[in-house]
């Protein structure tokens, strides 16, 4: 059963760049599909965080995914992934400057992507302050992974 899913995933991966992706992996080739092709996949194209998602699964952090990274991404995004794993990757996605903290500027960027910049700067400021006020437990003005996980584990609908 797993083999079937695996083969289907590979055919999707192959479709993205047929001339780039080899069908034969016996020589363990090192090929990566560039980010632009991946974010145009129908599952991701409407997502406001698509660039961040792809970046956080790529090893080099530049958004180009090898097949392993590709499989990792879809396995975390699927329904079967455990909650803790999803929380770890969610934290990575929302951490725009990759400093392992979600600081206020990260929050502002998240909010603007979510609302397509329809809120006024004061409103954005208010919301970000409220989020930090609600979730920050150690009082350093930004969210560490522990704060994030504490908050997200209580959320009633944290299931993608």
């Amino acid at each position: 059963m797993f083999l079937l899913v695996f083969c289907r995933l590979h055919s999707r991966y192959h479709e993205l760049a047929p001339n780039l992706v080899p069908m034969d992996y016996t020589n363990d080739p090192d090929c990566k599909v560039p980010m632009q092709l991946i974010i145009n996949m129908p599952e991701l194209t409407e997502n406001p965080f698509k660039e961040r998602i792809v970046e956080s699964f790529s090893e080099a952090g530049d958004g180009n995914l090898s097949f392993n990274d590709f499989v990792d991404m879809f396995s975390v995004l699927s329904e079967m992934a455990p909650r803790e794993l999803k929380a770890i990757y969610a934290f990575k996605i929302y951490d725009f400057n990759t400093d392992n903290f979600i600081c206020k500027s990260d929050l502002e960027q998240t909010l603007n992507k979510l609302t397509r910049e329809e809120l006024t700067p004061e409103e954005v400021n208010l919301v970000c302050e409220k989020v930090i006020e609600e979730a920050d437990l150690d009082g350093d003005g930004k969210l560490a992974f522990a704060d994030f996980e504490n908050m997200i584990s209580r959320a009633p609908d944290f299931l993608r």
């Binding site: 409407e46 979510l114 609302t115 919301v127 409220k130």
Partner: protein, 649 residues
């Protein structure tokens, strides 16, 4: 050794139990099959849930409106949909138990005097001029209403949502709502008065057709049943909503959850994504408003003083309008007694005009006064609703007074017609039979028999007219006030001196309070009139159906979201509480007329009886065994009934 044996035994049991999942032994296939069936079952459940949600009528429309305009506007549409459900049930009851049996099993049109258009009215039964008598006063008041609406000053809001308008405008540019509306009015006199649609048609024969269907009993019980069902549904919904609200609104991490968990990662469709973005933005705005309200610093004393002042002003307003209404009604009664021919147009339509003008200007006034109070927008909306409700009670009062006056008039007329009847019958016999002998039944054309005025049908007609004129008024104000205004602002903006979209008049906001109250009062009329005009629930079902589509379209096309988007209270208990009050108030007049006024002698299912509820007594005497009657007699002892009512309360 013993320990090893127990461990071995446990291991054996474990392997036996999980044989399939370990991938070994005979259980493997069965386990795989079980897993596959579980997956299929989960998928089936999910599909069924999707199907069930898709079956809820208008769900997608309402979700779209909610994502663009917020939950308070959507709550109006959810309320409308709930009322539609109630009206469907009422329609089912009246149609199935009253109209269909009479149409199928009762005597056909033309066989009895009450079922035929009398000779005197035949010429005008299909005449278009009938409409004029009824229509003119209402149309002119409609006109004044339309003018008042344009004078109505609105808040200045920023524009939005213009792109979709151009396509809609092209399709509506040649709409002409006036003509079809007129035709509807004439239908309610003329032929349909003598049909199953109204009370007068029904025969008082005790049992009709081969089923021995007890028509009068069914009519009475259906009337009582619709009221009882409405009470039950409204109270039950209130109780359900009250339970839900106990959850409390102060969940922690509100903003954090909104930020991190609101996006749905399964969305692949651009239009759905648009809706989702809009709903996320709206939801953030709602939470921001809540937060700002919480943060507001208040000067307690000043606020309290201002609120007391505002309430005082509102009470003055209401008192003034109440007195004005009372005064005008008394004057119109005086005019009616002296005969209407001496007076001009204003005197004839004074009551209608005063009502319309009050209904236009007082809500605006309340709006201005409420700016003093500085409440949270949701609370301000509730106060506004309450005040306009009190104002409209005045409307109700005049309507009922007018109706009672007309009923009394008709009763007097009836007494005269009865005397004339005996004279006419005597003239027919014309000396062929001795005076004191019983005469054989006469073969007379039913259309020629002189008819008494049927006050019940008249009451039914009044309600139908009111409902129809109310509907037409609403639609015309919607089209003129929202749509034409939007067209005007959009297209004349290029050649106008000031910016129409930013300044006056700009696009309209959706008026929640006006629409909700309109809906509630309309339903009150239906409840009052359903006993006398069985067609009313049917008309209301059609009206609500059309309203839903029309208003959904108008909101998406011509309205802009409120400047301050606020979350509706979790349940609609406020609307439902008002509905309950109206239900109670509207059953009072109906019950009063049933209990105290004798039915007409020649029309309707209760004709010839002393009081309408005698039908129950009759049924008990004739249909049930004797002991049942005795038991019922004991049970209806007032003492017992009183204690029972107290218990229920």
């Amino acid at each position: 050794m013993k320990r090893k044996l127990t461990t071995l035994k446990e291991a054996h049991e474990f392997v036996d139990k999980f044989e399939g999942s370990l991938g070994k032994g005979k259980g493997k296939k069965f386990y795989a099959y079980k897993v596959m069936m579980q997956k299929k079952w989960m998928k089936f459940q999910r599909d069924f849930e999707n199907f069930r949600t898709a079956c809820i009528p208008w769900e997608m429309k309402i979700k779209e409106i909610e994502s663009h305009f917020g939950s308070s506007v959507a709550s109006y549409f959810i309320f409308l949909r709930w009322m539609y459900g109630i009206n469907m049930v009422l329609f089912g009851l009246t149609f199935g138990l009253v109209m269909v049996p009479e149409a199928l099993m009762g005597k056909p049109y033309g066989s009895m005097p009450r079922k035929t258009v009398p000779k005197s009215e035949e010429a005008t039964a299909m005449d278009f001029s009938i409409l004029w008598d009824f229509g003119v006063s209402n149309c002119l008041s409609l006109y004044v209403v339309a003018i008042c609406y344009f004078v109505h000053f609105m808040h200045f809001v920023l524009l939005d949502h213009c792109e979709s308008m151009s396509t809609h405008i092209l399709s509506w540019v040649t709409a002409d709502p006036g003509q079809p509306g007129m035709c509807i009015f004439f239908v309610f006199k003329g032929f349909s008065q003598y049909s199953v649609l109204f009370y007068g048609y029904y025969n008082n024969q005790r049992a009709i057709g081969w089923l021995k269907f007890r028509m009068p009993l069914s009519y009475f019980m259906t009337g009582v049943g619709t009221i009882a069902y409405s009470f039950m549904v409204v109270i039950r919904t209130m109780a359900n909503n009250a339970n839900e609200e106990g959850g409390g609104d102060d969940t922690s991490f509100t903003f954090s959850w909104k930020m991190f968990t609101s996006w749905d990662y399964l969305i692949g469709n651009p239009e759905t994504a648009d809706n989702k973005f809009a709903s996320i933005t709206t939801s953030f705005k709602e939470s921001i408003v809540e937060e700002q309200e919480n943060r507001k610093e208040e000067n307690i004393h000043l606020t309290r003083f201002l609120r007391v002042l505002a309430n005082f002003l509102v009470l003055c307003c209401l008192g003034g309008s109440g007195y004005l209404i009372y005064f005008v009604v008394r004057r119109s009664q005086k005019f009616a007694q002296e005969g209407l021919d001496d007076y001009g147009w204003w005197e004839r339509n004074e009551v209608n005009m005063v009502m319309s003008l009050l209904g236009m200007f007082c809500p605006m006034l309340f709006d201005v006064i409420s700016a003093l109070e500085n409440y949270h927008p949701r609370i301000a909306l509730q106060w506004q609703l309450g005040r306009i409700f009190a104002l409209f009670l005045g409307n109700l009062y005049t309507f009922i007074i007018a109706l009672l006056d007309e009923i009394n008039l008709k009763l007097e007329e009836e007494a005269i017609v009865r005397i004339n009847m005996t004279i006419w019958e005597a003239s027919l016999y014309n000396g062929t039979v001795a005076e004191n002998a019983t005469a054989p039944p006469l073969e007379v054309d039913p259309a020629v028999v002189p008819r008494g005025p049927c006050w019940e049908t008249m009451v039914g007609q009044e309600f139908v007219r009111l409902t129809v004129s109310d509907t037409v008024t609403t639609y015309i104000t919607l089209l003129v006030g929202d749509f034409l205004r939007a067209v005007f602002v959009r297209f004349l903006n290029y050649c106008w001196c000031w910016d129409l979209e930013y300044g006056f008049p700009s696009y309209a906001e959706f008026d929640i309070s006006g629409n909700v109250l309109g809906l509630i009062f309309n339903q009150g009329m239906i409840w009052m009139g359903a006993f006398y005009a069985p067609c009313l629930p049917a008309i209301n079902v059609i009206r609500l159906h059309v309203s839903m589509y029309l208003q959904c379209w108008a909101v998406m096309c011509c309205n802009v979201p409120h400047a301050r988007v606020f979350k509706a209270s979790g349940s609609n208990n406020f609307y439902i509480a008002m509905l309950l009050v109206i239900l109670f108030l509207s059953t009072l007049p109906a019950v009063y007329t049933i209990v105290s006024i004798p039915p007409s002698f020649d029309c309707g299912p209760f004709s010839g009886k002393h009081r309408m509820f005698d039908v129950i007594q009759e049924t008990l005497d004739n249909d049930f065994p004797a002991w049942f009657g005795k038991v019922f007699g004991y049970a209806s002892n007032p003492g017992l009934i009183l204690s029972f009512i107290l218990l229920m309360v």
